[in-house]
Symmetry: C2
Subunit: 409 residues, 2 copies
């Protein structure tokens, strides 16, 4: 008799953004005339850079002619794109990453969710709280946790990110084997300094732990003192992977492009102590379970590294950062605590109280969608996340409504 | 200390097609002047249907304008594509499948590799031999097998596909919990009759087993008596999933589109006997680990269901089927046993002897690439697979070389 993977029954509730979408949809069904401004999910609103549109069309045309037609591509992606990434995103910032250490994929969500397939059964996993739910749920589904209890899964080490530590946790006293870090952070928008990241790299090296560094929002960093890659930190090549995404960098949420960096010198043991290259293991995983990224999509991606593409991406990011600044200013003006919104498209706001209750009130009274902080973990209670991905008009209209709700709360 | 998933160390050798690519690349390095004709991997060579190119461009243009821009799409894909699939691929053939039972993805390889995440730890898995390696390797990596021994993994039930049973195995005497079936078969090209599939559905219902039906090559079926979907068989909705791909149907190997069908009434137990909807479990998996398929790619996909798209796809498939017929005729003309090549783009040829040795000889002497049968499993020894995905000129040139090699062998 077929039986399911029981670990799926451990998962607490819906996937957060699916639940947000469900409540918004129910609200719209009840109130078909009401305007809804979505400041919840971090989904981009502005068109793709013109350079990407042009290259995308060229890639499509290539597929329409026998002589330029492309079939299966390399599992890790085409060299033309990996080389542009290595040069522009890493080497130009002094991070020693080669094109052959980059694995392209159709989403950082896919990669951050799949990387746990490489974990041994008994690794001790540390996750931030609040946390991007994928890190947690993917591990729970794979049996890397205990049961859900009092708002947390047994077996994980939670790294509390609180007002007291500026939402940047320090390494725990105990030894852990895997550490998920995300900076600029989703959901809090907090950034980590060079010194803070150095502490984590030193900890990982001392404990032979693996850092999974999610840098999906690095393009929003404007402070030159803040590292944009973990590989700007000495020693990271021997203990860290990095996840990147084109989703927010270039407005690619509906196009689907991301990549994972695995240094070639990163060696990890099996349970007998024999050492393996993590790069080779991931290549084997990708060769078995993935068939590469759509060719025209890779063409569109490479165009963001052209001179025009770079300028267009900067304009796009400036636009969202100005949205973030406006929301931040409005929230601080009514005296409600808030981090993020600088070097990040997210704002982590602390109205206090039950965060789903605030979500429901803001939706029902103002027609504004946020993301309830408790959906990201126990430390998210009392907080909500606002996203700066929106039109300027929507942001301006939402600001007035948000200020009103925060003042009433 | 971080440790890897030891199951990765159980995997025997390279992924088959990576190994084929490695040998071909080494040959080309040694012989830069020699022409190589690739009849190995099943990769399409002809341009996308014009209707898809046109719709692809329209989808790209949508992404360049704020008013038509698309961000994150539904995890399961846009309704416009799922509805076209349900109507044209299923309902039109009397298979009762709704649009809400279709999950789009970027590859049947991804889906057939990921579906095992839903399996309980102790399910007994049956795989065909020869087999598409993904079914086996994905389960081995996830710990659903024992060790590699004498060319097979302990713990799996192998369904021998041999000249004696016409390469269509009957259900085993023992009870198994999961059954991977693929028709038209990869690698053999064999097709299953309605009666043969009915035997499997009856077996699955009697044993409460789950059938994973890979129909990636169904578009090549021209015999109206041969089912193209498992859902043409009564009772399949309660025991079977189906995997489909646009890769071979419409030449999308470099575009990346596939889908999985999970009927809403398919209920499966956890280890306590509590029943769950497999559809809901997969939706939860996809919401957590996947972020939907590229929007312009979905637009390109839907175009194959337009009247022009259908005609263009038929022309494309006719072209490859004529290639297959030519190769088949040539092989049979020299008296070497061969199946497939009718209702399938693959030919399963039995020169006898060591199949990697035949592969190497054909490559080195003739510059023609096939796929060694033993790479697909123990029953593949003595066989090689030829693919009909090529230009007519290449096929015609290869035929002479293949006949020569088979005659000498």
């Amino acid at each position: 008799m077929f039986q399911i993977n029981d670990n799926f029954t451990k998962i607490a509730g819906n996937y957060l953004f699916a639940e947000v979408a469900r409540r918004v949809s129910a609200f719209q069904d009840r109130n078909p005339q009401r305007r809804v401004i979505k400041m919840g999910i971090g989904d981009v609103t502005e068109p793709l850079p013109e350079a990407s549109i042009k290259a995308f069309h060229e890639g499509v045309d290539d597929m329409g002619r026998r002589e330029s037609f492309m079939g299966y591509g390399p599992y890790e992606g085409y060299a033309f794109l990996r080389e542009a990434i290595a040069k522009n995103d890493f080497q130009s910032r002094g991070a020693d990453i080669g094109a052959d250490e980059i694995f392209l994929s159709d989403g950082a969500k896919c990669d951050t969710g799949s990387i746990q397939e490489l974990f041994g059964a008994n690794v001790r996993i540390a996750v931030p709280d609040p946390v991007y739910p994928v890190y947690v749920d993917s591990n729970v589904m794979a049996g890397h946790s205990g049961l859900w209890k009092d708002g947390r899964y047994e077996g994980f080490v939670y790294l509390d990110s609180t007002p007291e530590n500026g939402y940047v946790p320090a390494p725990p006293a105990e030894a852990v084997d895997v550490i998920y870090l995300c900076f600029p952070n989703n959901p809090t928008g907090a950034v980590a300094t060079r010194e803070q990241l150095k502490t984590w790299v030193d900890y990982a090296r001392a404990n032979k732990a693996l850092i999974l560094f999610d840098a999906a929002y690095e393009a929003f960093v404007r402070d030159p003192a803040i590292p944009r890659s973990i590989y700007e930190i000495e020693g990271a090549r021997e203990c860290a992977l990095e996840f990147r995404s084109f989703s927010k960098t270039a407005g690619f949420t509906g196009v689907r492009v991301a990549f994972t960096v695995i240094p070639r010198d990163l060696k990890v043991p099996d349970s007998t102590g024999k050492m393996h290259s993590l790069h080779s293991l991931w290549m084997r995983r990708q060769a078995t379970r993935y068939n590469g990224l759509s060719y025209p999509v890779q063409k569109a991606s490479a165009a963001i590294y052209s001179p025009e593409g770079k300028a267009q991406v900067k304009t796009l990011l400036d636009f969202y950062l100005e949205n973030a600044r406006l929301v931040r200013e409005a929230i601080l003006s009514v005296g409600v605590p808030c981090v993020g919104g600088e070097n990040s498209p997210y704002l982590w706001v602390r109205p206090g109280g039950d965060s789903w209750a605030f979500f429901d009130r803001l939706l029902n009274e103002a027609g504004v969608v946020c993301t309830p902080g408790s959906g990201f973990g126990r430390c998210g209670e009392g907080h909500v996340r606002f996203s700066a991905f929106n039109s300027r008009q929507n942001v301006q209209d939402a600001i007035a409504l948000i200020k009103q709700a925060l003042t009433k709360g």
